[in-house]
Subunit: 312 residues, 2 copies
Amino acid sequence: MVIGLDAGGTKLLGASLDEGLELGPRVRHTWAGEGRDATLEVIARAVEDIRAQAGDVEAVGLGVPSLVDWDDGVSRWSNHLPLDDLPLRDLMTERLGLPVVVDNDGNLAVLAEHREGAARDSSNAVFLAMGTGIGGGLVLDGKVYRGSHGYAGEFGHMVVDHDGADCPGACPGRGCLEALASGRAIGVAGERAARDAPDSALGRRLAESGAVLGQVVTELAHEGDAAARAVLADVGRRLGAGLTGIVNALDPDVVVIGGGAVTAGDLLLDPAREVVAARALPPVARAVRIVPARFGEEAGLLGAGLLARELL
Amino acid sequence: MVIGLDAGGTKLLGASLDEGLELGPRVRHTWAGEGRDATLEVIARAVEDIRAQAGDVEAVGLGVPSLVDWDDGVSRWSNHLPLDDLPLRDLMTERLGLPVVVDNDGNLAVLAEHREGAARDSSNAVFLAMGTGIGGGLVLDGKVYRGSHGYAGEFGHMVVDHDGADCPGACPGRGCLEALASGRAIGVAGERAARDAPDSALGRRLAESGAVLGQVVTELAHEGDAAARAVLADVGRRLGAGLTGIVNALDPDVVVIGGGAVTAGDLLLDPAREVVAARALPPVARAVRIVPARFGEEAGLLGAGLLARELL
């Protein structure tokens, strides 16, 4: 038995994972702006809670929304949690008295999708998690590719608008894919569209609630609102421009799109596919598949458990 | 003894390569718009000419500016030579009566830089060849990474301006790095700068000769012309925007810039380095080196020879 934990930007999810790759009861904590010590306390308590139920636990896998030094398990830089320059693996190993492995959450999600999900049977897979931001991970030649230090897979911070606006959050970049095609970007574009079309369902929702989030755009698009559909198509085309560069550079078998925004389904992915078909180098465009993830918010959790099993 | 050949967009270069990795006398042919049969004839004749001088040749490595199916040696799509959907490896093997290996020219150049050049001692290296267009290659975990079909490494066709202008040449993309930061892009920007500053050395050169090529911009920049230097700095910053995305995605040890445009040296590379330092995720930016290639126009030729040796 092992434990997988995924400490995302908004919440922590944890569960045990048995030999049959079945996840046990979930533990969940929504972050409330905890500082560093309290964050570590929440993580440690989640492990102890799961352990109390699961019995004989041999290792812990922990995902964080950070650039993680793969060699020494130091969380080097985080866009979302107060974990900069923190020897997270060693701290947790000591605190829990168990072997702990720490990895970037996107690396864990691509591991789960490759072993058990939408990238199964592929040699080379690109994974993008479109949540509030865009995380990512990469499987090359059947293994998670982490780069020279552990920082690889940050497809959200590929520049797709070289002279573009500042990337939201702590990223010092401009014109990053995350600024143009994340869940947050769907909300921003949705609010603009709602103002432009006050009689649309999107416009009425803005008038009622004073704001439009990405998930509202998706919901109204599924209900058939033309303004909301146009927003998803626009963001999908921007995503497609980013994917065009990625597939030309990496020639993967498959691109897997996960994260909350993928509930938009083909309303988002078809425009992205059309752009890749039209703009990528023809043999690359013909060969690559662009598919939704199998796992939703639990991809990182499962990947963390799988990595803990590999550690043993 | 093996033979290496590099059939680039403008010329063919060939030479023998001995066990000490010494290249023999060079054979060179400048393309004059030959059709498919004549192109193959030029390649075959180059091999025979080298063989006549070199004696006992055991294998041939051939680089082409094409997407090459790695499994079967078919040149699938070429931006520069009439080699689309051509079983180049099998045709040449039969014609020459020697084992032949065919690869994309950027893959061969990165092989040469990794084994013997600027990427030596690195695990993960990105290579960009800034010539008329932008070619590229990738070494990951110490080996050339070719992707799922053999098409990887086309960094020139990463989208850095998602709503940008058509990519020149046969690429169906828009806003590709090649459109913004190739040798040709230096010429285009140089001509615009020459018009804007008719009293600069660049402006006078345009008035004299009616056109400005990338290499003229570089030459005048080295002589101190401020207008020419500003052009290289601009193009260098665009290159830096593209590199920012590449290093965030791949976390390489080193980025090697080759091709004709790199004669601009730090006038081009320093602005690129500054953009990466300012805009890439901080731990990635701190860790990566951006260096000029060791080999100039002979990188592909040497790589072709090295690959032929590996074939044996």
